[in-house]
Amino acid sequence: MTTTFTNARLINPETGTDEIGSLTIEGGLIVGLNAGEAGEVIDCGGKCLAPGIVDIGVKIGEPGERHKESFRTAGLAAAAGGVTTMVIRPDTTPAVDTPETLSFVTRRAGQVTPVNVHSMGALTKGREGREMVEMGFMLDAGAIAFTDCDHVVTDNKVYSRAMTYARSLRALIIGHPQDPQLSKGAAVTSGKFASLRGLPAVNPLAERMGLERDLALAEMTGVAYHADSLSTAKSLPALERAKAAGVDVSAGVNIHHLTLNELDVGDYRTFFKVKPPLRSEDDRLAMVEAVASGLIDIISSMHTPQDEESKRLPFEEAASGAVALETLLPAAMRLVHAGLIDLPTLWRALSLNPARRFNLPGGELTVGAPADLVLFDPDAPFVLDRFKLNSKSKNTPFDGARMEGKVLGTWVAGERVFGGNDA
């Protein structure tokens, strides 16, 4: 079947263009750009048509915490949020650290999820930082990267061996840089706000300490390394140096660190408790600038569903994390509306860069690429109601927030997975 999107603002991250045009898809692929009308015609009415978002930080509660999020609900949330590919995290219960668990996850995902799903494997067994997983078998089973997520591998010998082994398999390793001793027990970033609220806090330099260590190990072993969840200005010079020195490193930031700051916690609001903790406004602006300049390659949702019971606790005891699959796009649009970044540059970080770094198809508007698309109105305003989210867990910091940017339709391999016919 052939479909042509006409009168669309084509957001092309590869060429950096944002122009009205048409796009034709057929057989699950993009087959034409401004190539005339063929087949069914969808008039986009001048709204934005962009590659579907490739989100590399999604936690799904399977196995172990299906009451928080299932593949079905996460898939619906992704489709509603314009996310056409979810790269899912292995920090489940138990961790995805064997080829068998990975196969289970992949099978579950395939049965019920309307969007593309790829799994990451844990780097060490049980994410305990002691023994590396069977990387070879797990790659065969479909793993696309390895990470212990927020568990920092503290033993440098274990970490360097895992990296060396991964290099021979050309596998990507992802770290969440942090000094584990300094950040132990911390709920917020140290500073005036933390002191006023009397909450346990961590200095932002703890992130740079972790990053410098990881970068040295990456340089030492030659592995492809992605530093994820960076959040502080002080980390950026280290990253810049490593990139300039030719270390195979990329970097990511979570959407909440681009759109919120530490003061949003306010009166101990636990929906704003994330990991790493929210930072100062200066840090936030530095991260936005780093995305705009390309120093930070990837924006992810770090979608972390938590049920009400995990959040309705005193701040220190409450679980970290926020759901974000459905709010990623409108939250990111805040940066565009604030004039801090343009749409094609934003989409480089949302689709093109993650697809390339994780070696996945998609993320671009070129002939021959998969027809994974999102059609959205960048200006449509709404007030977010957390109970209307598709995610099983409703722990969003944007509850009641005024946002702009509505997804009108999402297509995966040419099939419409979200939105009605009246685009």
């Binding site: 006023l196 909450l199 606790l313």
Partner: protein
């Protein structure tokens, strides 16, 4: 007279006028407490529940006496020994208690912000009796009352708060209150026991006792909170005593009529020399305890008036 609060969660929310209101009323209760008939019916018919999720003898006794002297029905719950151990969440505990229709809930909790959370879920007046490292408002109010009675004023004084600032909710509430009343606040202690960026709170920070105490009107010592420390903040207690323990030599740098305060319980020979603590010319530690009862009576009285007004659904003058 102004007091527009529904709860007493912290000093942060209070206006200077409201602080004065509490202290003025507390003054009158202090007189009553010294008379032979120590009783009023301000809280008659009301139920006061003291929920202490953390060990406390002094504060709990003070709240209990305050409630009883005002005629409330007072119940103490030692939460450490109760359903918390059975896995019940704070909110469920609060809702269970709420169903018993208390009017005043006095709460102490080991985690910062826990009392704020609880206050959102119940429909009675909540008093914070100390939450984690956040606030301890009645302590700051009783300290303020003691200072005002001793010094004749509560403004333009130099107050040195010394010791373990980082783990102290007393220090936070005090520095906020003293700042609101336009005093000069100094924090003195080793840098490992100072909260980060505390200098941005409009206070002066010293790591030398003698400099910090110079010409102070009030010297407020804090307890070294060993139970809240998760590692070595100081090399040893004897070095701490040597550098930061209040003795006659260090106190000599303060004004001649400077008063010495301590929220208790004291570690004699750690943060304060025993003879200083017992010196009736300098130490007002016993008066602090006395004022504690008066301030808590005043705070509960004011909150109860607001609660009654709210329940009677008055549109005007809901708050005193």
């Amino acid at each position: 007279m102004t007091f527009r609060q529904r709860h007493l969660l912290g000093i942060e929310q209070l206006h200077p006028e409201e602080i004065k209101t509490v202290l003025d009323l507390a003054d009158s209760y202090a007189e009553m407490n010294r008379s032979s008939v120590k009783h009023s019916d301000a809280l008659a018919g009301l139920t006061q529940i003291n929920m202490f999720f953390e060990n406390s003898t002094r504060t709990q006794a003070s709240f209990e006496i305050a409630g009883k002297r005002l005629g409330a029905d007072v119940m103490n719950m030692a939460m450490q020994a109760s359903s918390i151990k059975k896995g019940e969440t704070l909110i469920d505990t609060a809702l269970t208690l709420n169903a018993m229709h208390p009017d005043l809930l006095v709460v102490r909790h080991p985690h910062s912000g826990a009392v704020n959370l609880l206050a959102e879920k119940v429909n009675c007046a909540v008093l914070n009796a100390g939450d984690g490292k956040h606030e301890h408002p009645t302590q700051a109010l009783l300290d303020a009352l003691t200072i005002r009675r001793e010094k004749g004023r509560l403004h333009r004084l130099t107050v040195a708060i010394c010791g373990d600032i980082a783990h102290s909710r007393v220090a936070r509430s005090n520095l906020i209150l003293l700042g609101k009343m336009e005093n000069r606040v100094r924090l003195v202690g080793p840098p490992t026991l100072m909260p980060s960026q505390i200098d941005q709170f409009g206070v002066e920070v010293y790591d030398d006792m003698e400099e910090g105490l110079k010409d102070a009107d009030v010297v407020m010592m804090l307890r070294l909170q060993r139970e809240r420390m998760d590692g070595g903040f100081i090399p040893s207690e004897r070095e701490y005593y040597h550098r930061y323990g209040l003795d006659a030599e260090k106190l000599a740098h303060a004004k001649d009529d400077a008063i010495v305060m301590h929220p208790g319980p004291m570690n004699r020979g750690v943060e304060i020399d025993g003879t200083i603590a017992d010196d009736i010319n300098r130490s007002v530690i016993q008066e602090q305890v006395e004022m504690g009862v008066a301030v808590r009576m005043a705070a509960m009285d004011l909150l109860a008036r607001n609660l009654k007004a709210e329940r009677e659904n008055r549109t005007e003058g809901v708050y005193v």
